[in-house]
């Protein structure tokens, strides 16, 4: 161990190289990328809903990154939509990419499930729709009332989940969260630049084909 200095410097150099290749260069490549044409910034209500998404910990079970066809066709077969590029997350700070797929990918949930009523039912009690679902229910985002006031959004529930003599109405938090989920839609047509920088896994690039 009498080459401590060189070991230390070597380790530092490796770390610096890895930082350069994995953090700094990719960061420099994408930091000035304009948002994808067609991508709309979140509305104030959607931002409030996004805050709910973060604080309820949705990211622990739901990813927001469907994989490209070159990686797998499984995401496509589930209707999760096209694979995104970095520019599709221009307004996401911090991003909610997620790593866990305990639940389905949600990046395009606003396109495949645009129904606010569906989301309200599902958030109040996922088992009302999917009897096998392991998603937690979020009853605290809802209120039970004898009768709905004007302006209240009543949650549609099957008889077995309908409280006796009461209606379930959504709180502002639930409505915000649903507004955010409905806004998750990256199915617009992506430009050639986005096509070029998309990670296509092991698929042959356009030049290599044929």
């Amino acid at each position: 161990m009498n080459r401590l200095v060189s070991i230390f410097v070597g380790a530092l150099a490796i770390l610096a190289f890895a930082t350069l290749m994995l953090v700094i260069i990719p960061g420099a490549q994408i930091r000035d990328q304009a948002p994808t044409a067609g991508l709309v910034d979140y509305s104030p209500q959607q931002l409030a809903g996004r805050q709910q998404y973060v604080s309820q910990g949705c990211v622990y079970c739901h990813s927001q990154q469907p994989r490209a066809a070159g990686q797998t066709l499984a995401d496509m077969a589930k209707g999760w939509g096209p694979a995104p590029t970095a520019s599709d997350f221009a307004f996401d700070r911090p991003h909610q990419l997620g790593t866990m797929r305990t639940g389905p990918d949600l990046l395009n949930v606003g396109a495949r499930l645009p129904s606010a009523d569906w989301h309200l039912t599902h958030l109040y009690q996922p088992r009302a729709i999917f009897d096998w679902s392991i998603m937690p229910a979020y009853p605290y985002l809802f209120k039970r009332k004898r009768a709905a006031d004007p302006g209240d959004v009543v949650v549609k529930l099957p008889p077995e989940y309908q409280p006796e003599g009461e209606v379930v109405v959504a709180t502002q938090e639930a409505l915000d969260l649903v507004a955010y989920l409905k806004g998750l839609n990256r199915t617009y047509q992506q430009g050639p630049v986005d096509e070029r920088i998309r990670d296509e896994g092991y698929a042959l690039s356009k030049g290599e084909q044929q």
Binding site: A16, A69, S115
Partner: protein, 291 residues
């Protein structure tokens, strides 16, 4: 025990205990050190500038939030129903179900779009044969076709409701095509749609679904203009035995013999076709992404 000493080794007494003949003092070149520290410094600067930019952005956004009034969400019942072109015999009960829903059932339009155009794996309903739509709703209710969300809706519908909805959606004449979204080989898709692949006993799609994929009542749904993601999802579902409500198990067998690249190709090709065959197919506008 006597050790044999090589001749060229110095005598024991003269050896410096700390001397190591293979390890020499090689100072790290200043250049490498400089590079390492420069990289570290660059990384630090990048981090600081990113951090500041992010902080500024968040502050601006917070200000924007304070100034912009939060829009109250209108009640779910208040929805503007875009009158779909070419709808005849509009039935009040059907319109109610389409726009507002019935009982526990969410409205049809809330997922399938105001003109029944669909998106991703939520299918397009506009212009499908009424009998086909009616049978699918019945199958969702009976469990013959498996989809939890549609089963939830179908449980709230009577058979008469289903017939009304099927007629409503069959009557919508929507001429939009779907842009290919799957990156499939369109030329290969065309071959399968028009000629099939007889090496693997896959018949042409058009031999049953109509010469332009426009659907053939009562049993064969329209494929032209359908969402590619939906066609692909259904083909894989047939392939895996997840969906099995086809008359005489036709699609089960065909899809089982198809490979996944062909499914992808044919889904993209069929979606890009104009929904009704017309003398000049180029007239049909390519559908923009749904709202």
């Amino acid at each position: 025990m006597k050790k044999t000493q090589p001749r060229d080794r110095p005598a024991q007494g003269k050896v410096d205990e700390t001397f190591d003949p293979w390890e020499q003092v090689r100072p790290v070149p200043l250049f490498v050190l400089a590079v390492v520290f420069a990289l570290a410094f660059w990384g630090l600067l990048t981090y600081i500038s990113e951090y500041n930019a992010q902080k500024r952005g968040l502050e601006q956004k917070a200000e924007a939030n304070l100034t912009a009034p939060v829009q109250p969400v209108p009640p779910a019942e208040v929805r503007s129903l875009v009158q779909a072109p070419g709808t005849a015999n509009l039935d009040a009960a059907a319109l109610q179900m389409v726009a507002v829903g019935k009982g526990q059932a969410w409205s049809c339009a809330s997922c399938h779009g105001e003109a029944g155009q669909g998106n991703l794996n939520t299918p397009r309903l506009a212009g499908q044969p009424a009998d086909y739509l009616h049978k699918q709703l019945q199958d969702f209710k009976s469990g013959l076709r498996h989809n939890e969300s549609m089963a939830f809706v179908a449980r709230a519908l009577s058979d008469a409701d289903m017939a009304k909805l099927a007629t409503y959606y069959a009557g919508i004449d929507l001429r939009t095509r779907s842009a290919p979204t799957l990156g499939g080989d369109l030329a290969r898709g065309r071959v399968i749609a028009e000629k099939g692949d007889w090496k693997t006993d896959v018949p042409a799609c058009f031999s049953c679904h109509g010469m332009g994929g426009e659907g053939v009542a009562p049993g064969f749904p329209a494929l032209a203009g359908q969402k590619p993601d939906y066609i692909f999802a259904q083909l894989t579902a047939w392939h895996e035995g997840e969906r099995k409500n086809s008359p005489q198990a036709l699609m089960e067998g065909i899809a089982r013999r198809m490979n996944v690249e062909d499914m992808r190709a044919v889904a993209d090709y069929l979606g890009s076709l104009p929904p009704r065959p017309s003398p000049a197919p180029a007239q049909a506008p390519l559908s923009a992404s749904t709202p």
